[in-house]
Symmetry: C3
């Protein structure tokens, strides 16, 4: 049975050969939702439900699609009851990457090569839980065994970064870096924003009487992150921004909002554009990579969004980003991500235009599947350059996901390049070099060296 | 020659094996434009032009692309002259599914395995017309021989449903159900709307003095359809709706329109959103599946549509549907279709979010081709779940189309799943179960049982 | 090694067989940026940098992505230094079509079958430059040897067309035609527009006191082009136009702009829509093909574009073009191109609706890659008809590009059709005929015969 065998996701011998040449390269997970506290505590997993599904919204969603009662997902059922309920519907999940990830992790990290269903659930429960007793199954050991060299966690600007230091002191193989993600500071229309402003005042001992004070406090936070090994920031953009807006306008909007007044959609856009512009200046100064994530749909909104939405066409994405990239050309490294697969062509067109400092990130969220990864690589290769690929990211909060997702990416990458070799589009030796560059050395150079230009 | 052979549309032995396991499953055509009167009359076809092309806009369009004179398409030429004119250009149609459907139907339903061109046209004309004399070539017999178990026709709320009863009394194998499609009642900007209001008054003996009266009359119609075996409604949406609008607003708009006043685009949107909300309440009550068809381009419009169109971005589709799905979450079954292949990812993202009651329908219209069907299945499988697929539909007014289109779907489905098996993404046995679920039992459960939850 | 071997880009024996049947068909390059003066001078190339990269923005962009210093791209470095700098990073370009085009041209037009990198750069430099000394390496001879039968250059309405006559007098095998591209006359918001109006006055001895004068001058230019063998016009549309706007409105806008007043975005749209309508009337009169190129992003804009951009959704593209096509139905041949691959389905849907006079052009710009060409052909075949394909174009200013790009297209075409044959979708003989029609006779009939209808 070819299920998850050596040639999993690969169509040819050339693909397998390329894969073998990169499968042992270290993993750089440049965008991870791993909880740093979990790593710092480094406790064994209680059971295989907790390991695979306990905190995985991906798994929860597919169980709900199969009518599993919430009691057995996030409710009061015991972990074993949840595991059995999941197993009952698991064959119905096939075709979705969740099916492949779990089986891949079972097989390659727990050594259990059994297909999960209602008949095998008990057996796997026993075998897997026994595995979890081993020291080698603690989070940090798991990451080391998956050859993870770098994890960039996602952190709030007011976070204390002591946990990162603690984790780094425990391991020589793995480095954990924070990522500066200031969403809460700029979501001026959120009901939580005022409260968050108070937290910033407290954390950085700054009285926020103007937008300049806010920028100053954020600079203190940026400095703190820089001092603690941060190499990248992350901006989740609900709409395209130019990074260009006047300080005076931003200040007026800030001053109204700080009194509890609700900003208009246009004011929200102006304020966020201004702040992103200021943050990009800070990133430019420290040589961080600015990650721009676009096209995710915020889960809940209690306000009209017509005005914001009207600006979200592909054309608008193009011209807004172009203004941003023009402003920072030559002094800022940017990684672009878009959840809407239809807009990745537009991002590739922009990335191509702006030279080595601007790269396309990996396929993201719903696109991080065999078919989505392949499409993204085909786009990148034909519009931008594969060599300039920004690198795979797990975007996950599950420890094992880093292994299974990077492996999936490397297989699809190998298969995509091998297909080009088989079609006569490049020599095999060139494909092998390209695979290595995309899997490791390219992202390493882009993210982990202070200036891209110096190393070229 | 592999043309339409056993492995038609399939790339591997695994595909053929999966196909063989589902090819004899009954056909449930959940969205069909078959004319119920034609079935009730159940007359033999006069000739092979009438059978294949007489009422097929698909065929007409491709003949026009090849410069066939309208005289030989919808004009006064004899059926034989039309057949010969079609045959002359038919080789030039290759690559379009019309080419495959006709040859497939010739081969598998008429037993004529000849490629149509100007040289074979006479011969096929003779052979085929002879076939059409048989009793087994009458519409109902043809449907029975194609193993069709259910056809949902499309019906106007003022329709008389006696023909459905008549057809059902003639056959034990096939059930014909109406579908409640109230487009004409809500297209308040149409020049025909006032006239249609008169027809509703007459049909349901209700004086329409307010929007409440209209909702009441539509409820009577809904009841009548429910009593006559209806299991689904169908809404053709020109723009995304939320299903949320106040009765007062809707009533004001109604009262103006009923006097002949032209509504503004915003009023059209408000009115339709209100009515769809009311219809969804009715569907929820009876447990029908609400079909939402989006992205078709209305053939003719004699009014400016700028305001309506400005709201048709992907983002707007997402948030409007989200409001609708939030409102009816847990109490309404919905099938989502979009003609724009680019927006199917957005629909899949939504379907995934809302559990088992919301499903993605099959690829639609121009996407109902080998390449379009495959893309749709790949999207569904990787974003939503293949198991939750809403089922194939013919969307056709041609009897034989039901057979050829479902067969095309089942081949592409088998090939798509087999490709995943061959790539090690799922075991073969799991793929076989999944194929059966998608081809028959999944749609049966979703559409034909009163509550999805009870059966899980 | 399969790199660029006989089966380059092809997956099956059937593909190779189809390719062999069309590979010697003459090339009709219906949209080329070849500089007519270069052809008229017909001088030998100085060196292989000038031949391959000297004026190629495609090459420049990929070198910049690999951090090559501008000194070695467009700067003062010698051609040999530039060649060596390019060679150093060239393996990193793999996956982008630029990599394949250059190697293909080296192999098939210069007979040098060596992979370019830093170690082979000197050797290729020597061998290639030696080749360039031959008479057969002069531009016109190169084009003849690539079997180019027709080149439509892109020309300004005020251009002098004497060079075309000169080139045509030098060769019996190749015909060079001008293309009428009046972008500068309609870009009323451009800072150069006023100056261009002066040039038109001078060139055609017309005093421009109203929009009618401008239309009259453009008609004189159109006549001049018609007299000089022009068969097509080309309109680069930044936003969709209907071709419908009143002369009075256009005249008011013209009269303000001619005094230096800045038009509003809405005025720009009205003016351009009016002018395109007038130009389409002229094209209809002479039987030219009107090329509509959409979705390219203008390089620089110094004005707010919000209003223009807000109208660029897929829905708007559809309805605007529909108005245009309705207006000119039955009396104008149109070729549609869109750079945004997501919108090609919409164009195909329209092309299908309007019969033989409206065709889809080839994939364009960033889509002119193996993967982009294949997608475009799959779309065309399943929505519109492959038989009605508008024909490949090089869209390039490089002589050798015509050869390598048409060859790439013909290989992808052969592979796409062969894949349909292998999947049982059409007989092999039908695919061979279709390939010939798409590669040569279809475009010849559409572009080079005065009336499409007469020849059917």
């Amino acid at each position: 049975m070819p299920f998850l065998d050596e040639k999993y996701l690969m169509r040819s011998e050339a693909a397998l050969a390329i894969y073998k040449s990169i499968s042992d390269k270290p993993v750089l997970d440049l965008h991870s939702h791993i909880d740093i506290k979990t790593l710092a505590q480094n406790k064994k997993f209680d059971n295989v439900w907790d390991l695979f599904a306990g905190d995985s919204t991906y798994v929860w969603e597919v169980l709900r699609k199969r009518n599993v009662d919430e009691h057995f997902i996030t409710g009061d059922a015991s972990p074993k009851e949840k595991w059995l309920a999941m197993a009952e519907v698991f064959p119905e999940i096939a075709g979705n990457p969740v099916y492949e990830w779990l089986h891949f992790e079972l097989k390659y990290y727990l050594g259990i090569d059994i297909v999960l269903d209602t008949y095998t659930a008990e057996d796997i429960w026993e075998q897997a839980n026994e595995q979890l007793n081993k020291e080698s199954m603690k989070p940090i050991s798991l990451l080391e065994s998956m050859n993870v060299q770098l994890i960039c966690t996602i952190d709030d600007p007011i976070a204390n970064l002591d946990f990162h230091e603690k984790v780094n002191s425990k391991t020589d193989k793995l480095v954990v870096c924070p990522t500066w993600r200031p969403d809460k500071a700029i979501n001026i229309s959120s009901p939580d924003w005022l409260n968050y402003m108070n937290k910033i005042e407290e954390r950085y001992q700054v009285r926020l009487t103007s937008v300049i004070d806010l920028v100053y406090a954020m600079q203190l936070s940026h400095n703190y992150f820089e001092d603690n090994g941060c190499i990248t920031s992350d901006y989740n953009l609900e709409f395209p921004v130019t990074g260009i807006a006047s300080e005076d306008q931003a200040d007026i909007i800030f001053n109204r909002a700080i009194t509890g007044e609700k900003p208009t959609p246009d004011e929200v856009k102006t304020f966020i554009s201004y702040m992103i512009g200021e943050f990009a200046e800070m990133d430019s100064e420290t040589g961080w990579v600015s990650q721009l994530h676009m096209g995710a749909h915020p889960k809940d909104r209690d306000e009209p969004i017509e005005n914001i939405l009207s600006s979200s066409s592909t054309q608008h994405l193009y011209y807004s980003l172009k203004e941003f990239l023009d402003k920072f050309a030559g002094r800022l490294k940017v990684a672009l991500y878009c959840m809407d697969a239809n807009q990745q062509g537009t991002l590739a067109e922009l990335a191509r235009k702006y030279g080595a400092d601007i790269c396309l990130g990996s396929a993201w969220w719903f696109n991080e599947t065999p078919i989505g990864l392949r499409r993204q690589l085909e786009f990148i290769g034909s519009i931008d350059l594969l060599s300039n690929f920004g690198g795979m990211t797990s975007d996950s909060n599950k420890i094992l996901s880093i292994g299974s997702r990077f492996d999936m990416f490397r297989r699809v990458l190998s298969d995509t390049l091998a297909n080009m070799v088989d079609l006569g589009q490049m020599p095999f030796s060139v494909a092998v070099e390209l695979a290595e560059r995309m899997a490791y050395s390219g992202p390493y150079q882009f993210w982990c060296t202070s200036s891209d230009k110096d190393d070229s």
